[in-house]
């Protein structure tokens, strides 16, 4: 049974253009398309702060005076920035998934005597599966989504770490010297003087990253999350009357045009918000922007 929203949708072939469109655009398949916009926005909403945290951690450890910690931070930045996104997405997610299952397998099935790798198969005992083979579909989906968020956060975190590292270096040395002269410890100077001031230097770089992140979301489909580009392609492809109540020729152009408008609108709104944040952060700073604000007031 077709779950039609409008009662007249039971026989679309007889409908006028407007009514036909209203039925066509409310099919279950289109609803999945609309929901996928939410998926993308949710991904961004979770990934952006997570990536920023990874970035902050990476930058802090890259600056650390304890050498091994510094190597760790610098290594993270260098490796992840150097590997192409697509390769990272394909390799890392599979490796992570199998790594988790391997560890669970070792803990939960110590008596297992068969090899885990059999030819090209990767076999762990049933109770070590992530998620369990018999868990409901939403758990599989949530797990896939979580892997996607983590991967995005690690990739974009490395770029953010580089930006933040540069921003921390850009804060004038005199500021730290003054803090030290006041008797602040290294930690106090970092949190009270360096961090509040570095954002104005970091913002242009972070804003760039945000824009790139918005446009990178179609990589989601590589991870099996059905995103807006997948649905646009699926819905736009030509449909013959045999398999659908709504046959139509190749409409991909219109669907992709819709995506274009969505992305442009979204990046435009982001630009406006970022411009406001820049103004706020420049306030009272010893930078050109801060100086201009001082003169204007």
């Amino acid at each position: 049974m077709r779950s039609a929203i409008f009662s007249y949708c039971s026989d679309p072939a007889t409908l006028e253009t407007f009514q036909w469109m209203s039925c066509y655009l409310t099919t279950g398949k289109h609803m999945a398309f609309y929901v996928s916009f939410g998926t993308v926005l949710l991904l961004l909403a979770i990934t952006a702060p997570t990536a920023l945290m990874f970035g902050f951690g990476g930058a802090m450890s890259a600056r650390a005076r304890f050498a091994p910690l510094s190597w760790l931070g610098r290594g993270y930045i260098a490796i992840v920035r150097g590997v192409p996104d697509i390769a990272f997405f394909l390799f890392f997610v599979i490796a992570l998934d199998q790594g988790i299952e391997y560890l669970r397998h070792k803990v939960k099935c110590p008596d297992w005597d068969q090899p885990i790798r059999q030819g090209s198969d990767f076999i762990v005992c049933d109770i070590a599966k992530m998620p369990l083979g018999d868990s409901p579909q939403w758990i599989h989906e949530t797990y896939g989504f979580a892997l996607a968020v983590l991967t995005f956060a690690i990739v974009f975190g490395a770029f953010a770490a580089n930006v933040l590292f540069g921003a921390m270096q850009a804060v004038p040395r005199a500021q730290i010297e003054t803090a030290e002269a006041y008797g602040m410890t290294h930690r106090q100077a970092f949190w009270r003087i360096l961090v509040p001031q570095m954002w104005t230097y970091a913002l242009p770089g972070l804003a760039n990253l945000w824009m790139v992140l918005i446009k990178a979301t179609p990589l989601l489909f590589l991870l099996g999350v059905e995103d807006i580009v997948y649905w646009a392609r699926e819905l736009g492809g030509s449909k013959t009357a045999k398999f659908t109540a709504y046959p139509h020729p190749d409409w991909r152009m219109w669907y992709f045009f819709g995506l274009l408008v969505f992305y442009l609108a979204f990046t435009r709104v982001s630009e406006l918000v970022l411009a406001r944040i820049t103004t706020r952060l420049s306030h009272g700073q010893a930078t050109l922007g801060g100086e201009a604000q001082r003169k204007a007031s």
Binding site: R2, S3, T27, G28, K29, M31, A32, V93, I94, D97, Q98, E101, Q118, G119, S120, D121, F122, I123, V124, K129, G133, D134, Q137, H140, E141, Y143, G144, L147, F221, L223, G224, V225, E226, R233, E234, G237, S238, T240, A241, K242, F243, T244, A245, Y246, P247, D250, R252
Partner: protein, 236 residues
């Protein structure tokens, strides 16, 4: 690499068994009449009905999952679902990585479709879906191959003039040709050894269950009924 499920078929939960085995069936969802997404966004088509019936006979609970064609075998092997039922022809090349059941359709012909009858099938530009037996065939004929990730895009390429002709399973092309200005050109090409379900090589038990279910559907004629209903080529 987990994929969105479109629907759950809760079938044959044997009472008193406790947890029934859940089998996740992976398909492409873009290859009518074998498998496609209907207007509600659910997996539909010949293989949907076949798969549900097989699960019922094997007393298993099955769930449907869609996955990109390109990565459909790697994701089976790494365990994201348990079987592929996606119009996949049985070939020696694939047998090296996965194990197939017996075919549930007899070997079906592939065919070329084009906008005009005078295209050069041996030296022209031919569209085919990536990693299919048809794509391999084009390479063997010496024609120029252009590959597309989905079957739908191979048709669009011919209509847009990017390719001279498209080669695909004839059952897939038939409704497309009927509904457009395209025509079949050249002779049909027999390729592959029929279509079967693919399993991990370590999953012999499960494969045997489905194999037995296919045999029983062949014997009582219900498989032929399904094949005729969806017009997916010759019957047994």
């Amino acid at each position: 690499m987990k994929s969105l499920i479109l629907t759950t078929a809760a079938l044959a939960l044997t009472a008193g068994m406790g947890l029934a085995d859940t089998v996740r069936l992976g398909t492409e969802g873009a290859y009518p009449p074998y498998n496609f997404l209907n207007d509600n966004g659910e997996v539909d088509g010949f293989e949907r009905e076949l798969g549900d019936e097989l699960c019922k006979r094997a007393e298993l609970t099955c769930e449907w999952v869609t996955n990109d064609w390109d990565s459909i075998i790697p994701n089976l092997v790494s365990g994201n679902y348990d079987a592929i039922i996606a119009g996949m022809s049985i070939t020696d090349e694939r047998e090296e990585v996965v194990d197939f059941t017996q075919g549930y359709t007899p070997p079906s012909p592939s065919a070329y479709a084009a906008m005009s009858a005078d295209v050069d099938l041996k030296g022209g530009v031919i569209a085919a879906q990536t990693a299919t037996i048809q794509a391999n065939h084009v390479v063997d004929t010496g024609a120029t191959l252009v590959e597309y990730p989905t079957p739908d895009e191979t048709i669009a390429a011919v209509k847009a003039g990017e390719a001279d002709a498209v080669i695909a399973d004839k059952d897939y092309l038939e409704p497309e040709v009927e509904a457009s200005d395209m025509i079949f050109v050249g002779d049909d090409v027999p390729l592959g050894g029929g279509i079967g379900m693919a399993f991990r090589e370590s999953d012999d038990d499960m494969r045997a269950k489905f194999d037995a279910a296919i045999t029983s559907m062949k014997e009582d004629g219900s498989l032929n009924t399904l094949i005729e209903k969806w017009e997916v080529g010759g019957t047994w």
